[in-house]
Symmetry: C2
Subunit: 525 residues, 2 copies
């Protein structure tokens, strides 16, 4: 009954699916304890009507045509743009109105599948689907026992394990935290290996240098074996999705362009993301930030198409605001939510998958500020219809720290979003008229047949929320949510069982990694 005006995914092409099927999918989403990804059964929330969105699109084309986008330190990129018909002047590229849009709409897939080494974990990116991945990129970790310290490889492994065990996370993520105990030029090998060894969910590749992107692809090929190639097309399957950040405003640098080219040429997905703190990297307004974000992302996605026609791309938007007093980034405030709703609608009009949001916050600790700000990001993320949600779990301190307790809290919230997106069950059982007749005025429903029949799946059950009486809560130690989450992540790590991995594959991975590590001295560049 709900959400049916939107077309559901069906591989790389669109098709119609009946209301009955959509309802079945919704019920499945509700019932399953572990599903590979969410297929939404409720509509999306829109803040702007078509004329407002069209205005922003026109402004984005004006930016592309009149101001232009810098492609820096990459002569090949400028050459490709020249051949494609753009106006290249030094390192500045200007685009005839509609050119980037047309390049994207001509060949970028509207939806695609990212393959996992366990095919049951393949994720569908785009359409009515939502994929939750952990937070990304923190140099620090935070937990109640140690406070904040630099992250290490053992933290990275811990978070891969916790994400693997989290039913509400569909993806293993990428640089969940930076293992700063390892040299910069080699740590990507250990990160990719950890994703492959300790999880069987889909994951992200390295983007910090073209050769590290190539390593990510090689390791995926080893792990996937024969499944790395699509037998029909003979092309590499999309095994990696990787994060290409724009140097906003309006600049792509050589590092990001290098990784982008490696991935696009190998048919691996890239998320083209203007990283914007509004007020610093974009105007202080929602409409201005959206126009600039769209322009920047269009240039990058179009670039991927001229590098390799049909390369899977995702329109990304990371937009927050800043404190006008201190310049510090702020999260979970209303303006970024308005940008998010706007960008999601613009991505749908363009016809590409969308990445944004997560559980963002500025708080240093897993307190009420962290929770308010995270909820005020995650719920808009889900209502707007974000397809790929980076930073779903763990994010603290504007992304500087990955929190163990925060991770468990966010995983719980992500679980609730599964129920929300499954919508309202309008079946006979959902209507529950028999229950209302059976119970009647003045009685209670606790023991009635309908309640008993629906006991298991009736309501979302949080493993860490405390709903007990004050007295019982006191008797159990008066713990707050962070303290209960602290106990849960420790219990989960103790109970972790790795997914099966063929020892020959494991050996081949380690062999490749050993050779690559031996090929160059350690470096922190």
């Amino acid at each position: 009954m709900s959400g049916m005006e939107e077309q559901p995914p069906s591989g790389e092409k669109r098709s119609l699916r009946s209301g009955r099927e959509a309802k079945r999918a919704a019920r499945a989403a509700r019932a399953a304890s572990s599903i590979p990804y969410i297929t939404r059964a409720i509509p999306r929330f829109e803040v702007l009507a078509d004329d407002g969105l069209a205005l922003i699109e026109r402004n984005a084309e004006t930016i592309l045509a009149e101001i232009g986008i810098g492609f820096r330190d990459d002569p090949e990129a400028l050459d490709l743009w020249r051949k494609a018909g753009a106006d290249v002047e030094g390192e500045m590229v200007r685009f005839p109105r509609g050119m980037c849009r047309e390049l994207v709409q001509r060949s970028a897939p509207r939806e695609f599948t990212q393959y996992a080494r366990n095919p049951a974990r393949n994720v569908h990116i785009g359409g009515d689907c939502t994929v939750f991945a952990p937070a990304y990129g923190s140099p620090f970790i935070h937990n109640l026992d140690e406070g904040r310290r630099y992250a290490r490889l053992d933290d990275f492994r811990n978070f891969v394990k916790l994400a693997y065990m989290a039913n509400s996370l569909h993806h293993s993520g990428g640089t969940i935290c930076e293992p700063v105990d390892l040299p910069v030029n080699k740590r990507h090998l250990d990160m990719v290996y950890s994703h492959l060894k300790y999880s069987d969910k889909a994951f992200m590749g390295s983007v910090t240098a073209p050769e590290r992107a190539a390593d990510s692809i090689e390791l995926a090929k080893i792990a996937f074996g024969a499944d790395a190639v699509d037998p029909a097309s003979g092309r590499l399957r999309t095994m990696l999705i990787s994060l290409i950040n724009v140097n906003s405003p309006m600049v792509y640098d050589a590092t990001m362009l290098g990784a982008l080219k490696v991935y696009a040429r190998a048919n691996q997905a890239t998320i083209i993301t203007p990283f914007i703190l509004s007020g610093a990297m974009s105007p202080v307004t929602v409409a201005g930030t959206a126009a600039q974000t769209l322009a920047e992302a269009l240039a990058g996605m179009a670039f991927a198409q001229i590098v390799n026609t049909g390369a899977p791309v995702v329109l990304g938007s990371f937009a927050s605001s800043i404190s006008m007093q201190s310049g510090a980034p702020t999260f979970g405030t209303p303006e970024p939510a308005l940008v998010l709703y706007t960008m999601a609608a613009l991505a749908r009009r363009l016809g590409v998958p969308f990445r944004s949001g997560g559980s963002l916050c500025a708080s240093k600790v897993p307190d009420a500020q962290a929770a308010f700000e995270s909820a005020q990001t995650l719920l808009p993320t889900c209502l707007a219809g974000v397809n790929f949600v980076l930073h779903t779990a763990g994010w603290l301190e504007g992304g500087l720290a990955m929190g163990y307790e925060k991770f468990m809290m966010d995983v719980d919230q992500a679980g609730m979003m599964h129920t929300l997106l499954a919508g309202v069950d309008l079946s006979e059982n959902g209507q529950a008229m028999d229950a209302i007749r059976e119970v009647g005025p003045g009685n209670h429903f606790l023991g009635c047949a309908h309640t008993q029949a629906n006991f298991e799946g009736a309501f979302y059950r949080s493993p860490i929320a405390d709903n007990n009486s004050y007295e019982q809560w006191q008797a159990e130690g008066s713990l707050d949510l962070a303290q209960r989450a602290n106990a849960l992540w420790k219990r989960q790590l103790a109970e972790y069982v790795p997914p099966p991995l063929d020892p020959a594959v494991d050996e081949a991975l380690l062999d490749y990694i050993g050779r690559r590590k031996a090929a160059a001295p350690d470096s922190n560049v």
Copy 2:
């Protein structure tokens, strides 16, 4: 550009308002540091399409026609129903299909104004308007200094003062907390006096006995003086809005019916609210809970109309779920959010104002659980288009405790909702193309002319969120949000300045209260 398909309010009647005017209202909402209430400029979120809503309406009519609603211990109510054409059998009343709906639609105002003793604080209830009021009914208070203890009159006064000072709260509320240091049969006099003395915002009347409702009206009449009566109609203005809870499932008791009749006859507004913990007072499903809520509310609102044609009523819905393990109520979970979106749409289809939501949580302390659950209630409240939001600030522990720190956190969140509901500014300034041109690729927007011109109002500013660096946060004592909120409520109470009140009016109020207190012995019934 946004939210224009909905009709804005214009007194008691509907009229069209142009897009330009809506945009102006939005800008006003954004700019004003204190506005009497919110007029939304963004659309509402809907989870169900028309056919799903119609199905729930049919089920509600089936409940009214075939199961019926109990009107207990109130022969007058049964007599009124009999005369109106309902089928009365003992204390059970059954209604021909469509009867209650027709009674409501025939005479209940779609929107109305609740008058405040300061006319600048009048609030408009219904339509595109949202009014935020504090939490209601807690026997306990909680703060970081004392923990949890029984509430007293001084707490009640404190919260009236804090609500008066909160720009984001438009209403003084009612029984903000129970002053349990006063006798039950007299404490309403001190509560109503506190609202009139320490605030000039609109407030709620007592509902615990018909004579206490009458006292509330008498005190309001004294405070409003000549303004108590509408000169055009000669009728009492709506000076009070009061909370009539249904004894769900499907029972109205004599206490609530008594207060309802007193208020309806005096043209005072009532919020007819089925109070439902789904799984205990209603089925465990969203659609079942919504049908039952609608049936119960329809019977009560129709009753108000047969008591006094045209009496202002609000469709209320308080729906949460329970833990299926312990039976304890849970808040901020996805199922109540789905009920909320559904009921908001049903109220719009019926054509009456809607009350629901707030900042609900089960947590005992102002921790991350409190914040997650509150945000997962308040944001749906705002997106669904709730008109009267009880429990916007202070709610802890399923409503058993009113939290001082929680109050300040919730007030901050309510402030953010003002910005969200003002939507996207699509003016030239909002588009900010000049700023993008001025700054250009690779530079920053911090000092540009547009940023400087918009410096003041650019982003919502939280008085308690910490966005500083980790080092600065540490230097300031490593405080969490609750600790910063603790300092803020103390500072605000120290800075409180009461609104002007004519000493003669004050004397008359105290005289009335003195006489009423002397007329009966103290009692705790």
